[in-house]
Symmetry: C2
Subunit: 409 residues, 2 copies
């Protein structure tokens, strides 16, 4: 392990500052806008929702990231998603970016925007612009500013999510930090709901994108809360190069060091999003080992944590293993049930319940003890190859239904 | 409309009788076994789960139906699914079929078996055999016997599901009846949980299968309760030919008459399963019209009724149309959101809420009135072609979670 966790989030890396404010976009008496800013231009990498119905801000950012132009700022609002909003939605993105240009003298084409909240509602542009004005005068590089930003982007999240790590490249101390938010409509496909990572590393854009794409596939893309892939999923990583390390230009050991740290950060945020899924009381992990292929292992582990019936069983602390096997069966992966072993594990212990096509007799009290932990793992040995994958989700509870039966009103 | 609905279910057609009994397989103080029997040999057609983890009974029936041998009986139990049970599971199927042979003098290779209930638990064979013995002496062709059978196969269903229709072929009165059960782990893929149809029609086996496959694609395969495709999905249609119509040997107008009646029966049972989904308070219908292709229309309508967030909005009577558009967006179908019109409709009215990429202002009180009905339709006009499809589901409620958090215990 070549990295070390440190205090902070998006402001941990050199040259990044943040601000947040109460813009009253939809929520009242809480912050609902955030900005992350780097005076030094950043190379960027991003992954975005694969939903055909993409929010206006997603389309804005995709264009920005693929242009290769440097990025200076990201402006985020919670409450309204700016999805299904037609031309008026694009106009809101542009007005926001132009407000940053007017305040901070960076081109509006270097400003990314992101939104999360209700779909099919127009953003109040005057409030966005006035929010940008307020935030531009309140930018700070303190860790508190980063924490405040991570709180301003929450919707139904119950905790804010941030992390930072440091590692050494070419003798220079490099920092990578980030924040993300969940917590419903979470079933990322190429990316998660919203995650913003900042680093002072010097790295070529193409390698930055490569690292992000590879790491997202095993972290954010392996979580699910409700099977609903959002219209707004966005992950952005900005790197301003201020650490002064020799710029990473090939996939060498320095690149691997960075990727390892990036994996740790993304896995941390992804797990935190899963465990803070809407209404969730537990983190529900599925680990599939010895599968025929990596793709099979991913499909199988995602199917297990994605099944409503499995999730309800986890909520009820019910070792009803048939539901997990059923989910594997309809996942699309081919396998022979007579090869499979299935275990439940948690900090309270480990127990095999199914072996080679046959259910095992097991102690229900012991099973209950294992299932009662706040992180429960279903561990499946396929005995078919050597590929493995882990997926994360959460339990399905009354509160999930409650939150979503009256979310809009 | 060339058919007419009549009283009854699986016993409505000539030559079919049924029985049920309390076998105490898992449930107590209720019937939990049923048998449908025809002294005259039947041609059969069936569709089965596509889950890789198939229950022993599914594998038994698939072999039977594909052999082309005549079928005389189906024995069904509720409480235990006989899935993930290894060789012992197959032995239970054989023992059940052999018990029928011993009692009713038909070859055990003409006996289909079906199970529904907990996965990963062995069936008590002695109880099954004794159940068959009891039922063999209690067979009756009364409608009451059919109704009792439809009740014995229920698990978390709150109502039994049966129907019968009559129509005329070659001057002969033909009857088609059936029963089915839900109500969780319902996301049929090539077939539903359990449905048994009986008819006295004379028809060639290949045409019977063709009709069943075509009709199932637009009925049972278009419903979902929770996105979980069961290990046990089975639909069987037995036809004994006693109506005396000239045997249907080609896809002529007689075949179409039969298919129309079959569609009506399957649609009735499928809708009834959806509206009786675990914990459901409403039937939730999605009708997609003017899509590019039939396949697209199916994918889109299924995605709408399959989304947890859409289902929770339906429960909350919340006209939160963005969730439905979001579900369409991640369904896998390609389309342009700027072509789409979306309406809510019910017996209380109809309202357009989204048009050509833009949300419309609408009266929330009026929307609530429409959403409060016990059957709510999301109607989507794609403006891209002329294909259409309808899918059925139900709302996601506290009770769904409650039922499934402690189903096994």
């Amino acid at each position: 392990m070549s990295y070390q966790q440190i205090e902070g989030g998006v402001c941990a890396a050199q040259g990044f500052c943040a601000a947040s404010c109460e813009a009253n976009i939809k929520y009242e008496n809480r912050t609902d806008m955030a900005m992350v800013f780097s005076q030094t231009p950043c190379v960027s990498a991003g992954t975005f929702t694969t939903n055909v119905v993409k929010a206006a801000c997603v389309q804005w950012d995709q264009k920005l990231v693929s242009s290769g132009d440097p990025i200076h700022a990201v402006v985020i609002n919670s409450g309204i998603a700016n999805a299904c909003t037609g031309q008026e939605g694009f106009d809101a993105c542009e007005a926001t970016a132009k407000a940053v240009e007017a305040q901070l003298q960076v081109p509006y084409t270097s400003v990314a925007v992101a939104s999360t909240g209700v779909i099919g509602m127009q953003l109040p542009v005057a409030k966005l612009v006035s929010g940008v004005q307020k935030m531009s005068t309140g930018l700070s590089d303190s860790n508190q500013a980063g924490t405040d930003a991570s709180k301003a982007i929450m919707t139904t999240d119950t905790v804010n999510k941030e992390i930072a790590v440091t590692f050494t490249i070419g003798g220079k101390q490099v920092v990578l930090g980030g924040m993300s938010k969940g917590s419903g409509m979470i079933h990322p496909n190429m990316c998660t709901m919203l995650a913003f990572l900042t680093s002072d590393i010097a790295i070529e854009k193409s390698l930055l994108q490569q690292a992000v794409s590879e790491v997202v596939a095993d972290t954010f893309n392996m979580i699910t809360v409700d099977g609903d892939t959002s219209t707004n999923d966005t992950l952005l990583l900005l790197a301003n190069g201020l650490a002064g390390n020799p710029c990473i230009t090939e996939a060498d050991t320095d690149y691997e060091t960075f990727k390892e740290a990036l994996f740790y950060v993304c896995r941390f945020l992804a797990r935190k999003m899963a465990s803070d899924g809407e209404g969730a009381t537990k983190l529900f992990e599925a680990k599939v080992v010895n599968a025929k292929s990596k793709e099979d292992a991913r499909i199988l582990s995602r199917a297990i944590v994605g099944s409503n019936l499995s999730k309800a069983a986890i909520y009820g602390c019910d070792a009803n293993f048939g539901r997990f096997l059923c989910a594997m069966g309809y996942s699309g992966a081919k396998f022979d049930q007579n090869d499979v072993e299935l275990f439940f594990e948690s900090k309270n212990g480990r127990m095999m319940v199914f072996s080679k096509g046959v259910p095992l007799a097991f102690d229900e009290d012991r099973a209950l003890e294992i299932m009662k932990a706040d992180e429960v793992t279903v561990y499946v040995d396929m005995h078919e190859g050597d590929a493995q994958a882990t997926a994360w989700g959460c339990d399905l509870t009354y509160d999930y239904v409650k939150i979503n039966a009256d979310y809009r009103s």
